[in-house]
Symmetry: C3
Subunit: 205 residues, 3 copies
């Protein structure tokens, strides 16, 4: 119950990021709703297709449509207000990231994938939406360029997959995974932790 | 029989739109054929993957390859003539839109999805090809930005899903759904009906 | 055994092309690894999803992650050296192309698809990685614009599917298919063989 609420909450925040980007790119109302939907559910759909969970949860249950369309409408009519709520949105997004990492990994493990692969699919659940959002609006995906975002998700998902493999109790392992993910994401946001990019083409291009 | 002919006809017209765009973007012959193929079948493939109809009809039957390749060749060698046929192509495209909306929704219902989700998948059948065409040629998908296109498809698909749920007879419901879709699309083309886009970023960007 | 080694070798080379492109686009380390992974395995994943081989081999076996991540690290830290190795990389890429064409076609045939479709899926195995790499870094896919690349793959895959259909012995048919693909690719690289592009928009745009 709490779990479902968190899952829908995370979907909502991811969808808001899609709606905001759609508005910025001057899509019409329908386009904004599509990008909101894609940002909210594309990661979970990709994971479900890859593990053979068909139809994907985000297609089978209408509540994912409802929540992403609601987010799209909020984003469409309240872009100005959202822009001013930057910090809460970032914090909620970080929470959604951790949640998707944990739930995505767990679902992949439940479908019998090995722990390493399950952690990658957990991360894919987190970043798929942002990649779809950016491609639909013709941006190089942010997640490929900046900050500890996917890496935070991967660390959380990986620690969880490792803990399950070692037979540790589930709840503490999941809490630790989510916490590690959240810690890394917050360090990136507020301390500027990030990965290097290659020096090679910096001067030549 | 009539049904199959219409289905292939719609695929052909959608593929023509892909071929024309490929030519405009100066792709080579192979590239034009790929974009024609994607424009013709990507919507149906996405729908089939999501409902678990694997392999997708457009992969399992060679006639979809044949018709899209034929459209690609026509588009490659006769771009100038097609450009002059704007009105008939638009009308045929509108007919294809209605047909895909109805057949896509029906297939999703047949796979046991609920009516609301089935209508969304019907719409996805219509717009998937155009989205694939635009992404492969690096354009923000037209369908996200302009005119009543997806919305016409959604209205037709939705009315049909609703009629089926209420137990109304199938043929009249499908005719009504297709007619509603066609009406909205033609109003958009000839009366300029469209959705709003957000005012917010108009001045600030 | 030899087969597996060749398969992983081809995946590695394709992944190198992704890593190099990621570095050129100034992605961070994570982004480079993602694009390397996508370039290495996207073609095989697309094929497996379309034929219903779920989870796709590239997801089910961790060695595909290992080899693409290794390629990504090499690409990230040794871009300068790779740029100087242009000829060997092109040759290895041509070898990978032939191998993917043959193995992709064989897998599609094994899943009961008809020979024509199987050849198309064999080609898709070859080009899917490059398309994913280019879309993630916002380029119009090279394979749609230039050189005999996909066509070489299609010729090899098609000749093989034809040979199997005629009941010819498997090994010679596969060797012939791979050889035809390699020949066409090398002619394109060193003799400039290519497909035409349409003249129509050359002057008007």
């Amino acid at each position: 119950m709490l779990f479902d609420a968190l899952d829908l909450g995370a979907t909502f925040v991811f969808a808001i990021s899609g709606a905001t980007q759609g508005v910025r790119k001057r899509l019409d109302l329908f386009g904004v709703l599509v990008v909101a939907w894609a940002a909210g559910v594309a990661g979970g759909i990709a994971r479900d297709l890859l593990i053979g969970a068909v139809p994907p949860a985000a297609i089978a249950h209408w509540r994912y449509f409802a929540i992403t369309i609601a987010a799209g409408l909020v984003g469409f009519f309240a872009s100005a207000q959202i822009a001013r709520l930057k910090t809460p949105v970032q914090l909620f997004d970080a929470a959604g990231l951790c949640l998707f990492a944990v739930t995505g990994t767990e679902k992949a493990l439940a479908y019998g994938l090995n722990p390493f692969v399950a952690a990658v699919l957990g991360m894919m659940t987190c970043i798929g939406g942002g990649v779809a959002r950016d491609l639909l609006t013709l941006e190089i995906p942010t997640v490929l360029r900046a900050e500890l975002y996917a890496v935070a998700a991967l660390a959380g998902a990986g620690s969880m997959a490792l803990g399950f493999t070692l037979g540790l109790p589930h709840i503490p392992v999941m809490v630790f995974g989510a916490g590690l993910c959240l810690f890394l994401r917050l360090m990136s946001l507020y301390r500027g932790w990030r990965l290097p990019s290659s020096k090679y083409f910096k001067e030549t291009d």
